[in-house]
Amino acid sequence: MRRRLVSAILLLGIGLIAAPAVFQMFSRAPKGGEMINEFRPFMEASKVEQFQDYMAQIDSAHSETSEKLPAFASDNAGMDGETFDTEFPSTAAFNDQWPAIFKDMNDGMLVTMEEMVDNFAAVDALPPFPLFPFFFVAPGIMISLLAWSALQADKKGTSTRSRLKLLALLGIGLIAAPAIFQMFGRAPKGAEMINEFRSLMTEEKLARVQGYFLVLGAAEGELRNSVEPALGLSGSQLGSDFPALAGFHLDWGKISGDMAPMIGAMADNIDNYEAVDALPPFTLFPWFFVIPGVMVAALALAASARGPGLSGKEAFAAALPPPADATGAFFAGLKAKAEGNRASRAQSTEDVPPRQESETR
């Protein structure tokens, strides 16, 4: 029975070793680590706030380009709305598409990012992703080796007590690990983040955001290089009559410089995200330690309770009566037995004939 319990521990150890390979954690976990590293610069409250400020700034510029500017073109250049749109197609596209872009970027993507800042921080505080597989493999190897060693010892009739004690400790260690790494709080946050990012981290979404960037960039360039010169807008007039548009020009380099790497991070991490998303749900991760930990500890304790294998000394000690009984009648009995033995040895010596010379030679 004890051997069966230890064999079950051995199987659990092998299961822990095999788990990362089964879940392809050796390839997926490092991709998760890469994604966390590349998202880090963008998943900060201040950064998200900055992007929201950019959106608000562009939104103000859009109000001017879609309302005041065509009116200005009509008043100062006799250009009706249709002609304006034909002459300046990038500006027209911006005027037309911005409300939808703003809704998707500001109310969708940036809100999601803002809500997930704390979740990201929780995941980022977990041990490095590339180490995850080894959190299973290392205890798995130790448990397997100890269980195998206990089985061998049991076979030889030597003690398994210390091995079973170590196995119980390892089980307790596995139970404690998620608590030590605060996985019960952090892993569900990671799961929530992965769920929320699912709609953002797709090729379709990437292409859409890339498209937004093209609309903004093309319009900014066209406004600066074509529209404003064509309408005779000087720098000072632009600043006084179209302050939001002037600010858009002024800050576009910075907006573009922040936005392009964010789009790049999205593009570069779609496959990394997919790898992480293919892992078992983060919420389950603490239990991947706790459940085998409980089982290993319980099995090891149960095996110990079934009576550990005995060493020679332990067998001798076990044959001795309890100290309380090792007095009086027990010693009298031993004494009588010893006297009987001596008497029988003396009798047998008398019965033996004297040895001959040749026999002693």
Binding site: S90, A218, E220, G221, R224, G264
Partner: protein, 240 residues
């Protein structure tokens, strides 16, 4: 007797091998022009491919230029509109020669240090002059290791087939823009040709030295992931 025959055979074999090698070497020769040998008639052009500046006239462009096909597009577009292009058709960005005069084959023309200024403008001006793209200048050079993939790549090579056609390898071609690097070589540093990436092709007139070089290179990663750069260089080749 048999040993002597075997020695004779070995001697003949060695003589044939040496003779064949000598004949092959003499046939390969220098090939004229600028460089290395290879197949008969093939000539590696080692030197400077001087870049004629792009010039826009109406909706037409002549000289050297760059275009970018949008993600999911085909060779005929849709193209990205560069609001900073001086051309009427703003899908064209005219290129102008850099301080080296153009593209040098057989050696690398790398990015300076730093490769970009604080605003993300590319600083290299050796192959071509930096060109504004969405208000930020892009600058292109040839580098090993590649600035984006960090893989080792060879210096550009262009081969003339002796019949007016050029082919080549330009995996080291890389552009810096807005804090990021985009490999724009063909093939890519890993030897693959993803998306619309196509090998370098072109024309060459040995008498006048006039050449054209064209290739397409799909961006892998970064803000313009899956967009494709279309490169057209033309000018005069100067053998080094």
């Amino acid at each position: 007797m048999s040993d002597g025959r075997a020695r004779d055979r070995r001697g003949v074999l060695v003589a044939v091998v040496i003779g064949t090698a000598l004949i092959a070497a003499s046939c390969g020769g220098d090939g004229g022009g600028g460089g290395g040998g290879g197949d008969a008639g093939q000539q590696e052009l080692v030197g400077l491919f001087k870049v004629d500046p792009g010039e826009c006239s109406g909706s037409e462009i002549s000289g050297s230029y760059f275009r970018m096909i949008q993600s999911g597009g085909k060779l005929d577009g849709p193209f990205v509109t560069n609001g900073d292009s001086v051309c009427k058709d703003k899908s064209y960005t005219a290129l102008s020669p850099g301080s080296d005069g153009g593209l040098i084959t057989g050696e690398l023309q790398g990015h300076p240090e730093p490769p970009m200024d604080e605003q993300g403008n590319g600083m290299a001006d050796n192959v071509i002059q930096p060109q504004p793209w969405f208000a930020v200048a892009f600058a292109c050079t040839t580098n090993s290791p590649d600035m984006q993939s960090e893989e080792e790549v060879p210096a550009p090579t262009i081969t003339f087939d002796g019949k007016g056609t050029l082919s080549g390898e330009i995996s080291a071609f890389s552009c810096a823009w807005n804090g990021q690097f985009f490999n724009q070589g063909a093939p890519k540093p890993d030897g693959e040709s993803p998306g619309l990436t196509s090998p370098v092709t072109g024309t060459y007139d040995p008498d006048s030295g006039k050449y054209t070089l064209e290739w397409t290179s799909t961006v892998v990663g970064g803000a313009f992931d899956k967009f494709t750069g279309v490169w057209h260089l033309e000018g005069t080749f100067e053998e080094s």
